[in-house]
Each structure stands twice: as structure tokens, then as C-alpha cells.
Amino acid sequence: MLDQLISSLTDGLLLGFVYGVAAMGLTLIWGVMSVINLAHGPIIALGMFGAYLLFTHLGVNPYLAMAPVAGAGLIVGLVIYVIAVHRVINAPHLSSLLATFAVNMIIIGVGTAVFSTSPQNIDYSLGSVEVGFLTFPASRLVGAVGAILVTACLYLFLYFTRPGKAIRAVANNRMASELMGIPSSRVLALSFGLGAMMAAVAGGLIATFFPFTILSGGPYELKSFVICVLGGLGHPLGALVGGLLLGGLEGLIPTFMPVSWVPVVEFGLFVLVLLVRPSGLFGAK
């Protein structure tokens, strides 16, 4: 029984790292420009298809495919920002919600037409890893390591590079940034691009675990919301911790109750945290 529990927990935690990366994309965009990106799920799905297409049609190793998937995610994010978000950036939240929701519908619509909604999967196995009594797919381990690398890169970027510091400055005080010669609109576009990039990479990693369709981003978008609330909206590192928490729960819950209860518990927790600690479990303010 205990072995079973630990094994489910490990499974969930490894997955949680990847959830964390997805949520980081959402939380980064919110933190910088107070926009909730409702196209987050479809971008995750695009990441899945990116990795899938590169692997199936060009024979690219799915893990090496993460680099072009990241690049494409960045570009998709920049384009979405320029076309749909920038003109409503100073408008009330409802405008940006509607704008990104429109993008969501467009991606889903075009994606359905192109890829249909029958499930695809990346037929590539790394076998399984055994640690003591634990056995889990190696892809989970690689996914978790990838997620940690992505998080570390994001942090190094935000704290030790000029454009990264400019992102933090704009997030902190956009008017002051302009006064210091920082082109804030370009910085916002870059931030949105990075958020989309995280989503796409998370999607690519998830595609190495499970089958997916163009609609598969939706549940991960919802999970990202839960994670962001757990970790405190706007805190990238909080997103990683929140991801681990959610992943761990997802691993454990099925050993106690039917799997169909997982979302009920998750969203119950979501509402509870919003009621009790709206700034997130780790949020300072």
C-alpha cells in the first residue's frame, strides 16, 4: 500500500514539473501585463502538434524538437500580442479576455480543420526507469528535467540579462520604464512571446507522455489557472511549486477515490484558496 502511494506520488510529481512550466507561461503574462491569456490551452496544443509533426514527418527526436517548438511558440506569442492584445492592453480586462478568447477559437477552429480531432501520439519510447521498488516511464523523468531546465533558464533570463530586467521593470512600473528609455510595448510583446513559448514547450513535453488532439490544451489551461492561484498569480517560481502540488494531488487522489473525482478536488481546492488566501499559498502580499 505504501509502495503504491509513493509510486503514484512520484508519477504525479514528475508530471507536476511540466504542469508548472505551462502555468509559468500564464503567470508570466499576467504578471507583466495583467492579461489573462485565454489562448493558453490552444498554444499548449500547438506545442504538442509541433513536436508531433517534427517527429513524425521529419524524424526529429522529440526532445531535440523542443528547441524549434520553443522558437515557434515565441513567434506565435509575438504575433498574437501584436495582432490581438496590444490594441486592448490599456482597456478593461474584459477586452483582453475577449481578444485572447477569439484567438483561442481561431486556433481551435483552424487546428480542427487541419488535424481533425482524432487522437495522435508520438510513438517514441525511452523505456522505463527503475529506482528501488519504483518504476516509471523514462519520458516522465526527462520531461521533469526539461521543465527544471526551462525554469532555470527563465530565471537566469529575468534576473541576469538586460531584456529580462527590462521585463521585470515594465511589469513593476510601465510608465517609469518608458521614462528610462525602455520601449515598453516591445517588452510587452516579448513577454507575451515568452509566455507562449513556455506553453508550447509544456505542450511538447506532455505530447511525449500522452495521446492528444487539438482540444487537449484545454484541460492544461484549466490546470494552469488552478496552479497559478495556488502559487500566487504573477510568481513564476510559485507556479512551479503549484505545479508540483497539483501533480502530487493528481497522483494520490486516484488511490483513494475514483479518477473522475480528480477535477472536483482540484477545483474545490482552487475555490478554497481563492476564498482563504487569494494571493496564493506562497504569495507574500
Binding site: 530586467k165 521585470r168 510608465m175 528609455g181 525602455i182 515598453s184
Partner: protein
């Protein structure tokens, strides 16, 4: 020739016009003060000059070039620097990072280390706590960071909105001393200040803003003897 010229600027907010044709000129190397009662539109004028808001009418030219339609960051890059009212620091970033962000434009980056030395020399207090988050500093220290950050931008014209607001007389004095030292280096400055007595004492030239226009102007020493100025702004 004036380094900065404000020509017939009209500006305001949705439905309320605040400025009705303001003209002023900053001569290079001179410290100019803008005096006016609360709510007359001094901050509005500085925001318009910096491009944070677009004028209804009129133009701004800097070093002989029309900058009326440039974005704020482009003006900052060219050397127009505003230390805004309320400091507007990057509160989540350290003192050092705030200063670094001040030197964001390529022109300022070239002189980063000299400017950093200058700022630390002017405000030694900042050097003692470079790793402290700006949001946790006292009001006076925050104002030093705000001025320091502005200086890091390698300004051709430095505009200061409410330099001493909310500071103790002693801290206000420290900042005014910094101002006079900067003046000696030949920096062109425009000062907006509640403490009109001190402002006029350190300035070369002054404008009095009233009812949306320049109501009076002249050498600071003469204006400080003007009866109307003494009554209205100096409380004598």
C-alpha cells in the same frame, strides 16, 4: 539657443483642458524653476513635454528637433529625462537594478560606470545598500534613488517633479545641495517644487504658471522680489 522649447502647449484630460498655451524655454546649463499652485498643471506640463500624454495643440522641440510625436522612451533615449512626481521607482527591484534601468539607453550605457560613481558620490547612502529592494527604502532614500536613476540616464535635460515633497527639512536640504552640485557640472534642469523659497534661491530663471498659462517669468532673483509672487507663493 534654447535646448528645450515648449511652444503654445495646450493639454488636458478627457473633457477638461488644463493648459491653454504654455510657452517656455530652457537655456543650456541653466536651472529653471516652474512655480504654480496645486493643481494648476505643472505635472501635466511635464508629462506632455516627456510624451507621456499627447498635447491638444502646440509643440515641443529638443535640441532644435521637433519631438512632439515621439514616444516617451524615444525622448528619454535622446536625453530628455524626467524624475517623476511620486518617484515611481521599480519597487520590486534593488537599488542597483533601479540605477541599471536608468542607464537602459545605449547612450547612457556607454557612461555607466562614471555615472554610477557620480551618483554614489552624490548619495553615499545608496552605495551602502545596493542590494536592498527599492520599495523597502525610506521616503528620502527613495527620492535619492529616483534622482540617481535619472542621472544614470545621462540626461541632457533633467526635469524634477516635486523633488522635496514629503521629506524632512534636512533631507530636502540634502537634495537641494545635490541640485546645486549638479548645476555646477553644467547640467540643464527644470525644477518643479513645493518649497518655492528654496527653489527660487537655487534657480537662475523661473516661470509662474497660473490659469493654464505662463503668468510671469524672469530671473529667479527678480521674481522672488515680486510682490505678487511673495504674497501668493512665498506666503510673505
Amino acid at each position: 539657443m534654447a535646448i528645450l522649447e515648449v511652444n503654445d502647449i495646450a493639454a488636458g484630460y478627457e473633457g477638461v483642458q488644463i493648459l491653454w498655451g504654455v510657452n517656455l524655454k530652457l537655456e543650456p546649463g541653466r536651472l529653471t524653476t516652474l512655480v504654480g499652485s496645486n493643481g494648476v498643471g505643472k505635472t501635466t506640463l511635464l508629462k506632455t513635454v516627456m510624451g507621456l500624454m499627447q498635447p491638444i495643440d502646440g509643440s515641443v522641440s529638443f535640441q532644435g528637433k521637433d519631438v512632439t510625436h515621439l514616444s516617451a522612451h524615444a525622448r528619454a533615449k535622446a536625453g530628455m529625462v524626467l524624475v517623476p512626481e511620486g518617484r515611481q521607482l521599480f519597487t520590486e527591484m534593488t537599488i542597483y537594478e533601479n540605477l541599471e534601468m536608468g542607464a537602459f539607453s545605449p547612450r547612457a550605457r556607454a557612461t555607466f560606470s562614471q555615472n554610477l560613481d557620480k551618483v554614489y558620490e552624490l548619495f553615499p547612502r545608496l552605495q551602502e545598500r545596493t542590494r536592498q529592494k527599492a520599495g523597502t527604502l525610506s521616503g528620502g532614500e527613495q527620492q535619492m534613488v529616483a534622482v540617481g536613476r535619472g542621472l544614470m540616464a545621462e540626461p541632457e535635460v533633467l526635469m524634477l517633479d516635486e523633488l522635496s515633497l514629503g521629506l524632512s527639512p534636512r533631507l530636502a536640504l540634502t537634495l537641494f545641495e545635490a541640485l546645486t552640485r549638479l548645476k555646477k557640472t553644467g547640467l540643464t534642469m527644470l525644477l518643479v517644487e513645493q518649497n518655492v523659497t528654496m527653489a527660487l534661491a537655487v534657480s537662475d530663471y523661473a516661470y509662474v504658471l497660473a490659469e493654464g498659462k505662463v503668468h510671469l517669468e524672469g530671473p529667479a532673483r527678480e521674481l522672488s522680489k515680486n510682490d505678487e509672487v511673495r504674497r501668493t507663493y512665498l506666503g510673505i
